[in-house]
């Protein structure tokens, strides 16, 4: 067991020394990998933030029915009775214009704007919960209500959330495709790096085989090297995303102060960060493993 550990420690430190022996080569390929991987990682981070944002928004099947500003009490009563009897309506709430204005004043930032208006610009409205979340039913309901007397405008509140959801799905696929392509590129890059290393260390490998080195002993430093390089690339990607978020959050903070809203983009969660590091290390290991399997057998003592 301790011999096994010693051999792994030796292979690991050998791989580290190899990286350190050509620091500029190592740094430039790590930077290239980091930049490449920061694209899908950054895309993923933005998607996660957008998803978190969209889930904060109530996605219940809800419509807002805004009345004509000149609608009378009787008109309101008529619409209310229609809603009461409608088989697709689960519940509804009447929001008179005064209450709407009061709510608006409560939300931070806009109070001053509202105050400066002088008179209430808001219409009376009904907030309607439909029984079915189906998009078709909601759309039918919206069309029907739009035709009611004194109904000025009916808005499907979940529509934009749905559109966002669809957009996020496309975004996720794009990130996946990008990640897969770059993963392939990384594996290829490590494959070639290791091939070159094997070529330049021909003598050493031959001698090691002559004195009884096992396949594992010879493979190990290359595998560690690949994994380390992949890990370093993943870490660089993480750092690049962190830096980009820092800059973006600075800008968003500025914007937020102007509109009195609070938007903060979060970095990868600890779990996702670990996954990134693990995946990058695994890719490096895979590239090295494929290269070693392909090229080591060609080096035999003569």
């Amino acid at each position: 067991m301790s011999r096994w550990l010693t051999q792994h420690a030796q292979a690991f430190s050998l791989a580290l020394r190899k990286l350190a022996a050509t620091p500029w080569n190592a740094l430039s390929s790590i930077a290239a990998m980091g930049i490449a991987f920061s694209l899908p990682a950054g895309g993923y981070v933005l998607l996660e933030n957008a998803t978190a944002l969209s889930s904060r928004i109530d996605s219940a099947p809800q419509l807002s029915l805004f009345l004509d500003p000149d609608a009378a009490k009787a008109d309101v009563a008529q619409i209310e009775s229609r809603l009461k009897e409608h088989p697709q309506v689960k519940s509804y709430e009447f929001v008179p214009k005064d209450k709407a204005l009061a709510r608006l004043k409560e939300s931070a930032g806009v109070a001053d704007v509202v105050e400066s208006l002088g008179r209430n610009p808001l219409p009376d409205a009904f907030v309607v919960q439909a029984k079915s979340p189906s998009a078709d039913v909601l759309e039918g309901l919206r069309k029907e209500m739009t035709g009611w007397p004194k109904a000025e405008y009916v808005q499907l509140d979940s529509a934009w959330a749905k559109r966002l959801e669809a957009l996020l799905r496309v975004g996720r696929i794009a990130v996946l495709v990008l990640a897969a392509l770059l993963a392939f590129a990384l594996v290829t890059a490590i494959f070639n790096t290791i091939r070159l290393q094997i070529l330049t260390q021909r003598d050493e490998i031959e001698v090691a085989k002559m004195v009884g080195a096992t396949g594992g002993f010879i493979r190990r430093p290359f595998l560690y090297y690949g994994a380390l390089q992949g890990l370093a690339g993943g870490t660089a990607a993480w750092g690049i995303v962190a830096a980009a978020l820092w800059v973006l959050n600075g800008a968003l903070g500025e914007l937020g102060r102007l509109y009195a809203i609070n938007i903060h983009l979060a970095h990868l969660s600890p779990g996702d960060s670990l996954s990134l590091f693990g995946f990058a290390a695994w890719l490096g290991w895979l590239g090295a493993w494929m290269s070693v399997g392909r090229h080591l057998s060609q080096v035999e003592p003569q």
Partner: protein
């Protein structure tokens, strides 16, 4: 013990390097394989170390059929062999001591113990004073002795040397042969391939004479 029976070796291309070879080398024996250039001396040693495999016949080393050995078992065979081969590769990017340490790292020796052993091996070939030098600064004879130190540091039971005195002048060659004799005297089986007949006169060992791949009288 090394035992060949009905061993033939045909290289790809059709050239028959060894023909129907049969002989046995006992433990602690010292044997010199002689013969003209191209007689098959190197091929014979390579079969013992599983660098080449016989086309037919069996090669038994320490009770193991080397010709039919799985690739994963070959490293463990080689740890019992000390190989001093032609165009021997010293690693010029590291010190004399590190060259000798390599076989011990391969077998996973404890670091401190490995250092002691490597210095003892260098001492036996008279290179202890040069442990920190780079091999490139050694003379031809010293480089050959370094190869020997590397071959014996794992305390192999069998030492195989292919033309160990080629390109050395007579004085150096004599030193090298003395080193081999001293190992043989402490119980190591030694097989040396050489076309240099003066070795035979000096050591009076058992001789296997190869002529076009076959054993002569």
């Amino acid at each position: 013990m090394i035992s060949f029976s009905q061993v033939c070796k045909r290289y790809p291309g059709g050239h028959e390097a060894l023909r129907n070879l049969a002989f046995t080398v006992q433990d602690r024996e010292m044997v010199i394989v002689t013969g003209h250039s191209g007689a098959g001396k190197s091929t014979l040693l390579k079969l013992i170390a599983a660098i080449e495999r016989p086309t037919s016949g069996t090669v038994i080393v320490n009770g193991q059929n080397v010709g039919a050995m799985r690739a994963s078992a070959i490293p463990y065979l080689r740890r019992n062999l000390g190989l001093v081969f032609q165009d021997q590769k010293l690693l010029f990017d590291r010190t004399v001591l590190d060259n000798v340490l390599l076989p011990l790292q391969v077998t996973g020796h404890d670091r401190r113990d490995a250092g002691k052993r490597a210095r003892a091996a260098l001492d036996k070939v008279g290179l202890l004073a040069r442990e920190r030098s780079k091999p490139i600064t050694l003379s031809g004879g010293e480089q050959q002795r370094l190869c020997i130190a590397r071959a014996i540091v794992n305390r192999p039971s069998i030492l195989l040397a292919d033309e160990p005195t080629a390109s050395l002048d007579a004085a150096y060659a004599g030193e090298i042969m003395e080193i081999f004799r001293s190992f043989n005297q402490v119980g190591v089986t030694v097989l040396i391939a050489t076309h240099d007949e003066s070795m035979v006169e000096r050591l009076r060992p058992r001789v296997l004479h190869l002529d076009h791949g076959a054993l002569g009288a």
